[in-house]
Every structure is written in C-alpha cells, then in structure tokens.
Subunit: 323 residues, 2 copies
C-alpha cells in the first residue's frame, strides 16, 4: 500500500492532485481547513475507498506529524495563494507559506518521509529581466511578500533536502486555469460582467503580459516528475526546481476581450493608467519550460483554450459566485 499526504486537498491544485493520486492507486490522506479550499471540490472523490479526509489547521493542529507516518510522499499544496493581499495583511504569507511549510518539513523529518512535491510560483522570481525566464536566473529582488514567502519555502525545502536526505521537487507555476479555478482575473471579470454586462473595470492599463497553464497540464507535470520519472531522477538530485507554464503569454486586455466574447457580451472596458494592477503585480510573466519539456512533458491546452474552459466552467457552477 502506497500512502500520500495532500495538504490543501480541497483547493484548486490539491483537489486535482488528490484525484490523480487515487487513480494511480495511492491511499491518500487529504488535509484542508477550508480557509480557501471548498468542500464542493471534494465531491468527486470524498467517498473514494482510498481517500481519508482530515479537516484540520496545519498551523495550529496538535500532533500533526501523526498523520505523516508511513507516507511515501507529501504533496504540499496548502498555501496562501492570494498575491494581492500581502500588502494589507503582511503576516498572512509568512504564516500560511513559510511557517506552514516549515511545519510540514518537520513532520516529514520526524516521521522519516523522504519525498516532497511543493507548489512554488513564478511570482517568486520578482520581475525578471530575461524572457522566457529560466529556472536558474539570478537571486531575485522580490516584488511581493507572497513571492518572498514562496521563495523562502523553496530555500527551507532545499536545506532540509540537504540536511535530512529528503528528495524534493519545487514547481514554479504561472497562474493556473481550468475546472475548480477559485480566484484571479477570470473569476473577477466574469463576476463583474454578471453585475454589469455593459462595462468592465480592469486593474492596470491592460497591457500587462501574463502566461497561464491549464490545471490538467500542471497535474500531468507533477506526476511525471514526482512519480513516473523520479526513480531515474533521484539518483542525481535531492532537490530540483521546474518552471511550469505555457510557452506564450496574453495581454490582460486581450484576455478580457476573450472572456467577454465567451460570455456573448460586448462591454466597454475601463482601464487604469499604470501597467501594474496592484503593488507587487508583475507586468510580464513568461517562463521558459524547456527544462520540463526535456523530460517529455508538453502542455495540451493553449492559453486561449484555458481561459475559455475556465469561463465555461464558472458559468456552469454559479455557486462559485455566491461564496
């Protein structure tokens, strides 16, 4: 019996990863406190015979390490994933990213769990000067507290990897799209267009260039590296980082037009003057995905299809706007 822990199992990425691991024959213990996760995202597998759900808080729960006994791998996907909020609540990224990840690492160390998959972010690269941006760019100057916290997690993970022989893979995601997409510009735009179909207010001047990846392509990559190829990879490495994105980008204004068209609307767009939508917003995201492509991975969904499928999923799940 193979056992996996998925933190944030009721979240966007966590719920898809859990489903995939159950398909692969894992017994999965999923942990979530519904801070940003949603019970609806558990529906499709809550009653799976190999799934055990634990509603608990990773920061405060006592004896957390008990749940980690005999696990083969931890998919640590619980996080604060809201980049914008860090300026208002300057503790949230420290608490839900750095402290929580340190606690997960401690649980792994104490229970001898030797494999970790970690969700990092393109935002941890600040505002890079090289595009498409490779994994091995210079130590970045951080532009958001969120990015700082995620890169700090990477550092603690690599140090634990070296000090305690943990095999760890970090993935720097661009923004993800697809079913169970919970927050970001697509849901914001769809929501605003529901409220007023004739006018759409956009943060920033619409010229920012962003890259997006479909959740299915993302999960495929995590499983490829952490499950399928790892017996070959781990002989060489204890810690490794992969960019995960689509080899291209779209301007915010074009994304807005696409979303409106998919909703059969023709609103007037209202832009701001500055390029950045908020403090710490990165006006150009385009990651190099050569490293993971060299392992045989290739995204199936282009950015336009990812956006359209997200809009259509949201339109079919009206409860998403009531929360």
């Amino acid at each position: 019996m193979k056992r996996a822990i998925v933190t944030g199992c009721a979240g966007f990425v966590g719920s898809h990863v859990t489903q995939k691991l159950l398909q692969l024959g894992y017994h999965v213990t999923g942990i979530d406190n519904f801070r940003s996760g949603k019970s609806e995202f558990l529906r499709d597998f809550l009653n799976h015979e190999n799934f055990l759900f634990k509603k608990l808080d990773l920061n405060s729960c006592k004896n957390l390490e008990d749940y980690f006994a005999d696990a083969e791998i931890v998919y640590h996907l619980a996080a604060n994933a809201d980049v914008r909020g860090g300026v208002e609540d300057t503790y949230v990224d420290l608490q839900f990213n750095v402290l929580m990840t340190h606690r997960i690492l401690e649980c792994m160390r104490k229970q001898g769990v030797k494999r970790l998959c970690f969700a990092s972010t393109a935002a941890a690269l600040g505002e890079p000067k090289i595009f498409p941006t490779p994994e091995d760019i210079s130590v970045p100057t951080q532009t958001s507290i969120y990015g700082a916290s995620k890169m700090s997690c990477e550092h603690f993970i690599s140090s634990y990897s070296n000090c305690f022989e943990i095999e760890a893979y970090a993935f720097r995601f661009v923004s993800l799209l697809g079913p169970r997409y919970p927050h970001g510009h697509v849901i914001d735009f769809v929501k605003r267009l529901h409220e007023n179909p004739r006018k759409l207010k956009i943060l920033g001047d619409g010229s920012a260039k962003k890259s997006y990846l479909h959740i299915d392509d993302c999960v495929k990559a995590l499983v490829l590296v952490c499950e399928e190829l790892r017996p070959a990879l781990q002989k060489r490495i204890k810690f490794d980082v992969y960019n995960l994105g689509y080899d291209g980008y779209i301007r915010v204004r074009d994304s807005a037009k696409l979303i409106a068209r998919e909703m059969h609307l023709d609103p007037e767009f209202e832009f701001e003057k500055q390029i950045r939508g908020w403090k710490g917003d990165n006006p150009f995201v385009h990651l190099s995905i050569e490293k993971i492509k060299n392992l045989g991975w290739e995204p199936k969904f282009n950015i336009q299809d990812s956006i359209k499928s997200t809009v259509n999923w949201l339109l079919a799940e009206p409860w998403m706007f009531k929360k």
Copy 2:
C-alpha cells in the same frame, strides 16, 4: 538629532557598529537580550551620553515598534549566527532570523522608518559553482537551514522595500574575525589548545578553503554604503546586496597551524576523513568583492593578520573561555 536602532548591539558586529554610529554623531538605541550577545561587549560605550540600551527580546517583547519612532535607520544585526546548530534545533533559524526580521520590518513599516542595513551571509549562497562568487549567482540550492533562513530574510526585506518604499542594503558576510569574536573555528581551536596543547582535533579533513574578513573592514563597508554613499545610491535603488569578504582564502589546516604558532605551540593535528566539518558546512568560500570595491572600499587586514589579531585578542580576554 539623528537616531539609529541597532539590534544585537551586544553582539560581535552590533557592538562595533554601535560604537561607529556614536562616533558619527548618532543617537543610538541598542537592543539585545544577551542570548548570544555579551554585556562585556557594551563596556566601551554603555555610558556614552547618546547611547540608550534596551535589554529586550525582539521576538516576544510587546510594543516593540514604540522604540522605532523617529529612527533614521535600523541596523538589524540580531540573529542566530550559529550555522551548525540548525540541524539539532531546526526552529532556531526560523525564529531568530526569519520571524525576527519580519517583526523588525513590521516595526519599520508601522513607524515609517525608511532605511535598513541587514547582515546576511555567504552561507545563504549554498555551495556555489563560481569562484570568486559574485552577488548575482543563480538562485541557490541551500545547504544549511541557517543559510536558508538568511536568504529568506533577504527576500522579505526586498519585498518590503518594493511594497513599502524602504531603502535596504543586505551584506553577505564571510566569517568575521577581530576583537569581540565570539564563536567559530578560531575560538574553538584556541580553547582546545588551552585544554590540550599537544593535540588539536579538527572538524573535517582540513582541506576546506575559507575566507575571512576583519570586523573593522566590515564596519567600514556598512557605513560607507548605508551612511556615506547612500544619498547618491538611493536615487537608483531601493534594495541592494553586497558581498563582504577578503579576496582570498585559507585552508582550515593552514589556519590551524597559524593559530598554534601564534600561541607558541606545536600540536599534533587530528583530522576527520570527510571535507565538511558538519552538515551544511561549505567546503569553499570565496566571494567576489568587486561590487563594493567599485564604491571605493578596500579591506586593510589580510586573512593571516585577521586570524592573528583574533588569537591575540582572545588570549588577552580569558573570560571569553569561561562563558
């Protein structure tokens, strides 16, 4: 009246920086909890009319931000500086480095303090592949929890710098030597030779190459960047990083011989088999110091002189071995 805050003012670096700032005409509020700082290090300036000492704990003290009102600059030098201990106590670097630095940043934000000097470390670069190692190497794979924690501090600082307009300078030190040197291989070797002048046990095989900088040269660099040149520098940058080291290195075994000779001893050396002295020990430290040299800084003390002056200071301060 110019006011500065020095955290860790009873520590090795903090006590020298405090003295220098008092010389420069600053009113200095020095904070220390004597966790690793020593009251003896305050002797030379405790009664200076512009010095105010506060014995308090930066992690737990209430209303910490009250002390930060009206400060021009914070020299944040309080830290856990023991690289080796992180494997035994895996929380100490998180607590005394990351959480404490975040708290200092919060105090600065709340009180509108706009300038920060931060003590980072060469250890935050893991085991680099380029020598001498420049500031802008690739995002490092961390080898020690200490290094991970200090690089995390750099990230939080640069994100605060961007989000809250704080001018911040981080300095990545090699190991420092000179008066008030409190821990590291020189004091270890002198102590062991006091106990047994005929045999010296050395961690590692003695072939590791390390770089050292004299504390006087270090303080000179901090003041040059953060006080003297900054009116010119700050027009261009909000956050910047400088390596601080000596352009050269010495093997551990040669350092041991030099220390013994300075003590007029001729011990037998006992080495271990592996090159690293402990988990996370970096077998080769040699930083490029071109960036700060281009600002006009130059170290006065070479590595041999730094080691000798440290041995002689320790021999003249026997109380250092009783603590």
